[in-house]
């Protein structure tokens, strides 16, 4: 039995449809990430599951039980909020225990759970502090502790790392991941950050305009995005897109765009009209004697960003601006002409509707 099921769930505010016919099963113990831009409906889905937002139509089940009309406290879920949602006038201990006290959990049991949670999260010395005496990372841990002590069936995370600086965000991301693996509690994690989605999720749901664009394991989505939106959203640096056509010349398919032409030696490419070709920056390579590629693209370098480990080279091929992620020792400067090989086996083609063609 799935831990959480959404069955044709929709949410409308007046005439605006925020979530449209959302259907999804989340397995027991799974960490599922909902990822999308603002307005994609990801937070609304989470809030409907929490009971903080009503459902316009459809059914939500937790462990098979219909919870669609239940108030939050009766759903056995716990949530971690973006700005933590800690009660400023209460100490850490009071913040952690309030929900349990309201549920009339016995005193000893409350103490046991708090001791367990603060032990895991390293909050022992902070129990008598108020939230404003804590750092961002500590507040985040308290918020997680508050969710943990409830021992819920499902953890909900609503962009929990957005308020933290980059270094802390990476650290907390790792902590959340290892915590989830340790507790094995079903977790639904909402984020706009595709790095968080890729690194944390057992599976990812990519959302746009209240609809599921793609559902799958992170690496599968990365390798085979279902449509142009997903291709552009998942992966850093972003995929390059070229508008053009596929021609079959002497039986061999070729991609032709303004000022640009290269072979696409693949048998699975049928002749179609207008297409968008997608190529990830790491699939553009400096040709070497051992790696000669028949398909190449040539352009003039307009910007070189040296990140240390790799170098991002932006170049113009005709009217098209492309970017390649090259090794850090690549000797190029602005104004150079470069010719890069294309890993044609990793190309993506999208038809006029944006759907994947391969």
């Amino acid at each position: 039995m799935p831990s959480v099921s959404f069955e044709h769930v929709s949410k409308r505010f007046g005439d605006t449809t925020v979530v449209d016919d959302f259907t999804l099963d989340v397995a027991d113990g799974e960490l599922l990430v909902l990822v999308g831009g603002s307005g994609s409906g990801k937070s609304t889905i989470l809030r409907m599951l929490a009971g903080l937002e009503t459902v316009t139509s459809g059914t939500i089940r937790i462990d098979g039980r219909d919870v669609t009309a239940l108030p939050p406290r009766d759903r056995d879920v716990a949530m971690v909020f973006q700005d933590y949602g800690l009660y400023p006038h209460m100490t850490v201990r009071e913040n952690l225990s309030l929900g349990l006290r309201l549920k009339k959990v016995p005193r000893q049991e409350i103490d046991r759970r708090i001791a367990w949670a603060v032990g895991i999260l390293g909050l022992e010395s902070l129990l008598d502090r108020k939230p404003k005496q804590l750092s961002g990372g500590q507040r985040q841990r308290v918020a997680m502790g508050r969710a943990m002590v409830r021992e819920p069936k499902v953890f909900l995370f609503d962009e929990p790392l957005s308020n933290l600086d980059a270094g802390l965000r990476a650290q907390m991301r790792i902590e959340i991941g290892s915590l989830q693996r340790r507790l094995k509690t079903t977790t639904i994690y909402v984020t706009h950050d595709q790095v968080e989605a890729m690194t944390l999720g057992d599976r990812i749901v990519v959302l746009a305009d209240g609809r599921i664009q793609q559902l799958g394991r992170p690496i599968d989505i990365y390798r085979a995005p279902a449509n142009r939106f997903v291709a552009g959203f998942i992966g850093t640096p972003r995929m390059n897109f070229l508008e053009g056509r596929i021609h079959h010349e002497d039986g061999a398919p070729a991609f032709v765009a303004e000022g640009l032409r290269f072979d696409v030696p693949r048998e699975d490419v049928a002749s179609v009209g207008a297409v968008t070709l997608g190529v990830r920056p790491e699939d553009l390579l400096i040709p070497s004697p051992s790696d000669q590629r028949p398909s190449t693209v040539t352009g003039r370098v307009v910007l070189v960003e040296r990140l240390g480990g790799i170098t991002h080279v932006h170049f113009d091929a005709g009217p098209h601006r492309l970017m390649a992620a090259l090794p850090n020792d690549t000797a190029v400067t602005v104004g150079d002409d470069i010719t890069l090989g294309i890993r044609t086996e990793r190309l993506h083609l999208f038809d006029a509707d944006g759907r994947s063609h391969l």
């Binding site: 009971g51 406290r73 949530m79 909020f81 973006q82 929900g99 108020k130």
Partner: protein, 271 residues
């Protein structure tokens, strides 16, 4: 700032402060002077006497009036805080049909001067048979648009995630209001309490209209009737009765001035 400028500034401020405080000090001192000395401008009485207070206490039921005032002002203040914060919470944080209309009506109520509603309200009280009752003094003041709007404005600044967290913790709306919002809104609640209490405590016109029985009169009303009606007999006695009116307000201010100054400074430094 140079020493000279600072001296100048302090001199000006001291002068201004004296201008405000002198009449008050003079009033205190005059209540302690024998009848002949009351007219003088001196602040230190040659001879101190409590005769004025004794006379006042004997001639009119000031003790009872003090109780009446305390009862009326406390009830109104409590109601304005409890009912007002409930209304403000709903206006700020709940979604319901007619909410924009409610917001608009509250602002409109604020714009209507009290004098305008005096006569219709009086007629209503007469029809209800509430003349010479506490209800006439209390009920018309139970809701206060200014207080509601002040509290609503403050509640809007409290992050929504706190309400979400409280709901996840299993709290109902009332509990969220009184155990989450109230502790956070202490400064604004204190301000509303001070203004409501002082407004109610000092109110003269309305009690004069709806209460004629001396046993039900509030302190300022009795004072007005007593002093203007010639019951006091001397300036010293009049001033002594005024002191009885002022002292509770001053005491309240001393206790709550921290919040008072905070709100006047308008700083957004809530934790």
């Amino acid at each position: 700032m140079s020493t000279l400028r600072r001296v100048g500034l302090y001199a000006a401020l001291t002068l201004a402060a004296l201008t405000f405080i002198y009449p008050f000090l003079w009033m205190i001192s005059s209540t302690l002077k024998p009848p002949f000395d009351v007219g003088t401008l001196e602040l230190i009485p040659d001879r101190i006497t409590l005769d004025n207070y004794r006379t006042m206490w004997v001639r009119a039921p000031f003790g009872r009036a003090l109780l009446n005032s305390a009862l009326v002002a406390t009830t109104i203040t409590a109601a304005v805080l409890v009912l007002g914060s409930m209304t403000a919470y709903a206006m700020a944080r709940l979604r319901f049909r007619g909410q924009p209309a409610l917001n608009a009506i509250t602002v409109v109520v604020l714009l209507i001067p009290g004098q305008l509603t005096l006569i219709p309200l009086y007629t209503l009280i007469v029809k209800l048979g509430w003349i010479d009752t506490y209800a006439a003094l209390i009920v018309p003041y139970l809701f206060n648009a200014t207080a509601i709007l002040m509290m609503r404005q403050f509640f809007l600044q409290i992050p929504h995630s706190l309400i979400d967290a409280a709901r996840m913790d299993g709290m109902g709306e009332m509990r969220i209001l009184f155990s989450i919002f109230w502790p956070l809104a202490k400064p604004v609640l204190a301000i509303v309490a001070i203004f409501t209490f002082m407004g109610s405590w000092n109110e003269v016109l309305w009690p004069l209209l709806v209460v004629r029985e001396q046993q039900l009169m509030t302190l300022p009303q009795l004072l007005t009737v007593f002093a203007l009606g010639g019951g006091a007999g001397s300036l010293g006695v009049s001033l002594a009765s005024a002191m009885v009116l002022v002292v509770p307000v001053v005491i309240a201010y001393v206790f709550l001035q921290r919040y008072f100054i905070e709100s006047m400074a308008g700083s957004g430094t809530k934790g």
